[in-house]
Amino acid sequence: MKPVNWKTLPGQEDITRMVFSNGITLLARSNFNSPSVSISGYLAAGSMFDPLDRLGLADFTAMCLMRGTQERNFQEIYDQLESAGASLGLGASVHNVSFGGRALVEDLPLLLGLLSEALRQPIFPPEQVERLRAQLLTSLGIRNQDTGDLADMAFDEILFPNHPYGRPEDGHPETIQAITRDDLADFHRRHYGPGSLVLVIVGAVDAQQAIDQVQVALGDWSNPALEPLPVLPPLHDLAEGIRRHIPVPGKYQTDLLIGTNGPRRGSPDFMPASLGNSILGQFGMMGRIGDVVREKAGLAYSASTSLSAFIDAGVWEVSAGVNPANLQRAIDLILQELQRFIQEPVTMEELRDSQANYIGQLPLSLESNGGVVNALLKIERFQLGLDYYRRYPDLVEAVTPELALETARRYWHLERLAIVSAGPDLYEEL
């Protein structure tokens, strides 16, 4: 089974990939259907480098880069961007700092020029640092009474203790308060360099133009002081089941997460797990979980599952937002479905439906420049190969119900789950 016009999907002959002499990797694909261009990318300067007493340092640094450079101050940067109707932003996750931007194609040099300055020549003006700090602290205050965020944080901490995956990239109020302006400049000096930079450009520009413009903006960047990547602690699967409830005052709904470790992106388990996940809690009105929790029991407006696969680990979880009085009933229903999921294989019909969905949806996900950018970032980040989207239908179709079951059993151990809820106080005994 191939999608309609599968040859129009990105492939070796229309994706340009080149590595510059300073290590920067560029991927580019043209799209002349709209006079705009999207850029995105990352480099290895993420929260994996955060000291424990300065959690949030990588993110704070990334967000401060555009607050003033050696060439332009804050107002000049934003005046030039906003006058062009363009956008550019940066932020940190665990391994990487990611960036993204968009402009009309004639403003691509502006965008790349600003990106280059932000990455290479930030000056961290003290007034801007303090202003940004106040904004970050306000965000943390809002996070601190958001049931979804609180459940997510607790869940990650349980799954990945003593590891950057288990710590929030935006830190905590105390750690953000502790970070100084010099910490930011120091972090930048030690961790920002071209060697790990990946840049993707999609839009109304041909490959040679993209290459030339990147060469001008970033081709001569080097950082001899760059430090090596950290050695991260080993990861372990959950050793026992954990139940945690976070009481949050003044709320009307409880956020619930039930989950476990999942495959990392490079694992051969990924595709069978992904299709299993689709059946379990995504396909149609959110799969079996949506059917049982929302459609049949009416317990939740949102009930679904997700599979998140990172470089070194993964998460497989069920989430729902429920009335506090229905919390235990929702937990019981979900556990029942999980039991069924690892007891018997999914049906051929269920599997075929999800396979058809994956293959059919591929052209739709590549409709816009942003969609193509994300597709190219994915194949580079996880080293999937330039021909990945041409091979994709075969990878999807190779999964059988038996393979999906065998894979699900490797991850879902119902006696070793993390069950986290955040919302009004629990009244009953667990």
Binding site: P3, V4, T8, N31, S34, P35, S36, F74, Y78, E82, S83, A84, G85, A86, S87, L104, R131, A134, Q135, T138, I142, N144, Q145, D146, T147, L150, I158, G241, I242, R243, R244, H245, I246, P247, V248, P249, G250, Y252, Q253, G284, M285, E295, G298, A300, Y301, S302, G321, V322, L335, D353, N357, G360, Q361, P363, E367, S368, G370, E415, I419, L430
Partner: protein
């Protein structure tokens, strides 16, 4: 703009078609002129609940088949209920589109509204509302809408009030569906990789087949007496049109206060603003670009840009009175609200923010903005529109969306109409609309209750 075909089918259904051959995709939208605007006190939330029930099956597409049908073909779909309209869309690979056409034609006429499904959906909608109530800004927004509209149905949230959601019965929903889900009250918009003659022929055939069970009656397009200066409400009502009571002019400035958990104070300033069909809508859009930054009105893919060079950002955020500010309007049939949202800095009080805000409004009223500033706002609008054209789904959405409150020409001439705005226009708009009498100011005051990090304890899970 590429050409658009507009037709009206014999049963009264309006059809807009636009061929786009850049990708093998088709996006199909059905729009109904019904939203929270059409709801009376005691029955708020009807339109949104009817939208939910549209996913609960017909005889040909029972609920278990419906929810999987589109996904199986690799499509994406969704639905939205808004103030003035309800819409259902599907985007599919071009060779699979017939499923969407059949599905929408079927559920326009044949949804079952099974009583058990109605009850199951009651708790789902209550859950959706509870999710909203968890958010300070939902509660603040609701309080402001209530204060801004005492008469007009825009005063209640689209999801409806809790009391009404507990009270509404199956027959209420079914009656609402049969009244508004009629071909004369619907518009179908399709954009993508098809041939116009073929698509038109297919739609004609499909809806002619359904017309066997069609309901009669004049088009139930609703009017408000504010838009009937000549004929008047009585005449319109006699002609069978539903008339929505207009909101009378405000007689005093209003304040609302909401409190709840957290540490952060939120301010929301809402001015009664012109309807989309009022020429002043464009002047106020330009004003807002200067005051709080440009807003994208695309339903999809337009995204936005930052607003750090806007007047309010410079006056509030760069002076450390606020940590963020955003503003915008919505395109509506009747006058709605121009809203500015401000997150107050933890070291300052809302009164200080209001003073600085009022200074910026006065500046717009007393001094004309420069032609240069307006030119900049136009360039921003052009860029945001260009981003929207990347997506066939977004282009398809505009074929129908603009017809809900004006016409497709409203969309095609949008940037040109903005470009015609002069500094004098902006000054007059500021003087006319940004008056204290014309606004509702809302503040969310935190009680300081918050979660102490690390306060929770783990328990080993014995559920197994």
């Amino acid at each position: 703009m590429d050409s658009v075909t507009k037709e009206q089918l014999p049963g009264g259904l309006t059809v807009h078609l636009k061929e786009i051959h850049t990708a093998p995709i088709i996006s199909h939208w059905v729009w109904y002129w019904v939203g929270s605007r059409n709801e009376k006190p005691g029955a708020t939330g009807l339109s949104h609940w009817v939208e939910h029930m549209q996913f609960k099956g017909t005889p040909i597409f029972p609920t278990s088949v419906l929810d999987k049908a589109i996904a199986r073909e690799g499509g994406v779909w969704n639905a939205f209920t808004h103030l003035d309209w309800t819409t259902y869309y599907e985007t599919l690979p071009a060779d699979k589109i017939d499923l969407a056409l059949r599905l929408e034609a079927d559920r326009m006429f044949n949804s079952l509204f099974d009583p058990e499904e109605v009850e199951a959906e009651r708790t789902v909608i209550l859950s959706e509302r509870e999710g909203g109530e968890n958010e300070p800004l939902f509660r603040l927004g609701e309080a402001i809408q209530i204060a801004a509209f005492h008469t007009h149905p825009y005063g209640h949230e689209i999801i409806g009030y809790l009391e009404d959601l507990m009270r509404i019965q199956r027959d209420d929903l079914y009656r609402h569906y049969r009244s508004y889900y009629v071909p004369q009250n619907a518009l179908i918009a399709v954009a993508g990789d098809f041939k116009t003659e073929d698509m038109l022929a297919r739609l004609s055939k499909l809806y002619a087949e359904q017309e066997g069970g069609a309901r009669s009656g004049a088009r139930s397009r609703t009017l408000s007496d504010a838009s009937l200066p000549q004929t008047g409400a009585a005449v319109a009502a006699k002609a069978g049109a539903e008339v929505i009571p207009a909101e009378p002019p405000a007689r005093e400035e209003q304040y609302v206060e909401v409190s709840g958990p957290g540490e952060t104070t939120f301010l929301q300033i809402a001015y009664r603003s012109p309807a989309a069909s009022n020429p002043d809508f464009f002047g106020l859009t330009v004003l807002d670009s200067l005051l709080s930054g440009p807003t994208s009105i695309n339903l999809f893919g337009g995204g936005g840009i930052s607003n750090k060079t806007s007047r309010l950002y410079r006056a509030l955020v760069e002076r450390d009175l606020a940590v963020s500010v955003h503003g915008g309007m919505q395109a509506t049939i009747d006058p709605f609200l121009y809203e500015v949202h401000i997150t107050v800095h933890s070291q300052h009080k809302p009164q200080e923010v209001m003073k600085a805000f009022d200074d910026q409004v006065k500046r717009l009223q007393d001094e004309r903005v420069s032609g240069q500033e307006i030119k900049r706002a136009i360039k921003q609008a052009r860029a945001l529109f260009a981003y929207g054209t990347e997506s066939i789904t977004n282009q398809a959405s505009w074929l129908g969306f603009a017809e809900m409150f004006a016409s497709y020409e409203w969309f095609t001439s949008y940037v040109e109409r903005l470009a015609a705005i002069t500094p004098d226009d902006v000054q007059r708009i500021a003087q006319t609309y940004l008056t204290p009498l014309n606004r509702v100011t809302g503040v969310y005051l935190p009680t300081g209750e918050s979660v102490e990090e690390g306060s929770e304890e783990d328990e080993p899970d014995e559920a197994g």
